[in-house]
Symmetry: C2
Subunit: 202 residues, 2 copies
DNA sequence: ACCTGAACACCGTTCAAGT
DNA sequence: ACCTGAACACCGTTCAAGT
């Protein structure tokens, strides 16, 4: 057969990424199989190895995209809320993304590269975007705090939010569990900020 | 062949659990294969299905054991440290376990049951032990705070520690990254506690 | 009754062969 | 040059057959 140039390599790459993301979102990371992706885009397995070196390569692409989407979502969410620029709106924007993109967000932590394989620079940069967003907002609260300390606080805060979000997804999602998680995120944000302002940075 | 009763069913079960835990610790969850376990204990694959219904069943057993070990580790760690009973010692005890049991701890979050399958009661109870430990210590700080609020704060705090620990394991472990994580755990504990005492519970 | 191991339906990856 | 699809070495699970 070998249908020639019906799609460019770049088009095929995008088709694979979108098909894979759909599978992860609908059936979870464990359902992401190369044969399923191939069937969904109307190509055979071999064609996927034309544009990706393997499943890990493909997955790292998707994970980088997910961090980017998360950063955009938080930025967009904050503009729709009254207390814009607050850590509370950051926390709720984060949680909102997690609920709406459960499969993709989970995959950020369910998957990891075999030991020894270096993490791609693009991936690390996409992840850093989210941390920088939190850092920027922390700066608004304490503009004279050393930037190294703000950096550390932002890391801790975002990672804490990740822990609270993870626990939410450990049970089956429901309106009640989501509402409870919102309160937990707000409690985390308010306690941490109150304690942080209260003298860590002198 | 069919070697008869060389080990009791219960002995085989323990041998499987220990072999599986060794594999997870040494090579990670992704290296946990039923054929590898069977080879390690000197039986064939079929024998594993005599004592476990399948891999998910075996994994949930190990995960429950890991939560129990974590609770014991935190309790033991606190007795070796001067500021016993503090949230800081809880945080450092938690982190100490994560570093020493990277593979097993990771599996708590890397693995999850297929949707629809209910989580075993034994597992939930083992997990709850760790949360109760934190709850007990929070009570020492604010004995008149409503128990429902203490419960929520303990959930948030432990989940936050999980988030910070997870981020540590996303990079290759080193003395520097572990030292940085310790500071992050302490910053989380101190900020959260300061903020929590500062008026959430009135 | 206890345990084996071949068989089954999968999986990611490779690569000679077709157009 | 682009793409196929059979082949390979795996995987979890089952179950008829042996002792």
């Amino acid at each position: 057969m070998a249908r020639r140039s019906e799609h460019s390599q770049e088009e095929i790459k995008q088709m694979i990424l979108e098909a894979a993301e759909d599978i992860v979102q609908e059936y979870g990371f464990s359902a992401l199989k190369v044969r399923k992706i191939a069937a969904d885009i109307g190509y055979t397995v071999g064609s996927i190895y034309m544009v990706f070196t393997g499943m890990d390569d493909l997955i790292m692409y998707i994970k980088a995209r997910t961090w980017q989407k998360l950063a955009k979502h938080i930025e967009g969410y904050e503009s729709t809320v009254e207390r814009s620029g607050s850590i509370e709106s950051f926390a709720l924007g984060y949680l909102d993304f997690v609920v709406a993109n459960e499969g993709l967000w989970r995959m950020l932590f369910e998957h990891h590269l075999p030991v020894g394989k270096g993490i791609p620079e693009d991936y690390l940069q996409a992840q850093a975007t989210v941390f920088l967003l939190a850092e920027r907002q922390l700066k608004l609260f304490d503009s004279q705090c050393p930037s190294e300390q703000v950096h550390q606080a932002a890391r801790v805060l975002v990672n804490s939010m990740q822990g609270v979000s993870m626990q939410l997804l450990m049970q089956t999602l429901s309106d009640e569990s989501i509402a409870a998680a919102k309160l937990e995120m707000l409690l985390l944000a308010s306690c941490f900020m109150k304690g942080w302002q209260g003298g860590i940075c002198e």
